[in-house]
């Protein structure tokens, strides 16, 4: 069953690589919610989600013909998403250095009702305390990616992924304190 769906995905990716617009549309629709969730986990900001997700998919369309192995599309897409989010967070950090705006102008809290539970708010807060690389690691695990796939996405070894994941989980637990 899984091999059928992965061959269907590889076929869809091949059609999209040939410039077939309906295939590109189908790819975006299939992955938009997962990418948006990943972006939200990385940035913790609702107002960044649409813009950054759009950037990720535009990069995907423009670089799709350079993807050698269509079967590895998912790892490749989440690598694009991870790098786009990390670039955005770096730019934000640089802007904070060079522009005379305080952190309170950048970190505008989510409006009331934007997050629907204390636990979700606590998770957002805990993720914000981690390094973006660690956030990406945890979000990739939540995406159901295996250690081997994450190692491929991050271009590192499986052992390194396991060690970093262990540390990231420890840090998340330290900062995760729901009030209720």
């Amino acid at each position: 069953m899984e091999s059928t769906s992965s061959s269907a995905l590889a076929d869809l990716v091949r059609r999209a690589q040939q410039g077939e617009e309906s295939a590109q549309h189908e790819l975006i629709v299939s992955y938009q919610h997962r990418v948006a969730g990943f972006v939200y986990a990385m940035t913790g900001r609702s107002d960044y989600v649409e813009d950054l997700s759009q950037q990720v998919f535009i990069k995907m369309i423009r670089a799709l013909d350079r993807l050698q192995a269509p079967a590895q599309f998912e790892s490749w897409l989440f690598r694009l998403a991870r790098n786009t989010c990390i670039d955005q967070l770096r730019r934000q950090k640089l802007r904070r250095i060079f522009l005379p705006f305080g952190e309170e102008h950048e970190n505008i809290p989510e409006p009331a009702g934007a997050v629907d539970s204390e636990e979700l708010d606590a998770l957002r807060h805990a993720l914000a305390q981690l390094r973006p690389q660690d956030r990406a690691l945890l979000a990739l695990v939540q995406e159901g990616r295996s250690h081997a796939e994450i190692a491929e996405t991050l271009e590192t070894s499986v052992a390194a992924v396991k060690a970093r994941l262990h540390r990231a989980r420890e840090h998340l637990r330290e900062h995760y304190t729901p009030q209720s």
Binding site: Q32, G37, I58, D116, E119, Q142, Y176, P178
Partner: protein
């Protein structure tokens, strides 16, 4: 009950009164980290931020952007830039050399005139 037992019990009671009413829940949450449901709601919240028609908007935006230059285009552009730089450098170098020569000749001419005047004076 012995007096020390009573003291122990009141110590326990005092200590347990310091705990939050949902102490066990909080300990479990802190020990296990966020549960799958919380992660799921984080992803759902992110996904809910996309406005309807997202895929169509992405495709429109991708079409509007200029195409990525090919390797050959990049090579031609780099070679053109390098040629312009070399020609510019050679031009300014030869021009400054010519000005320097003219200046040297003028000063030699002045010296020659001065020597000639001195000769005729003698």
């Amino acid at each position: 009950m012995k007096p020390e037992d009573h003291a122990w019990r009141s110590l326990q009671q005092h200590a347990s009164a310091q705990l939050n009413s949902r102490f066990a829940d909080r300990v479990l949450r802190a020990a296990n980290g966020p549960c799958d449901k919380t992660w799921q709601s984080l992803r759902s919240h992110g996904a809910a931020q996309l406005r309807p028609g997202f895929a169509a908007r992405v495709l429109r935006a991708a079409r509007k952007l200029p195409g990525v230059p090919s390797l050959l285009d990049q090579f031609v552009f780099s070679a053109g830039t390098a040629i312009v730089c070399i020609v510019g450098t050679l031009y300014f170098h030869s021009r400054s050399l010519a000005i320097e020569n003219e200046r040297n000749l003028a000063s030699w001419h002045q010296i020659a005139m001065f020597v000639q005047d001195a000769d005729t004076g003698l």
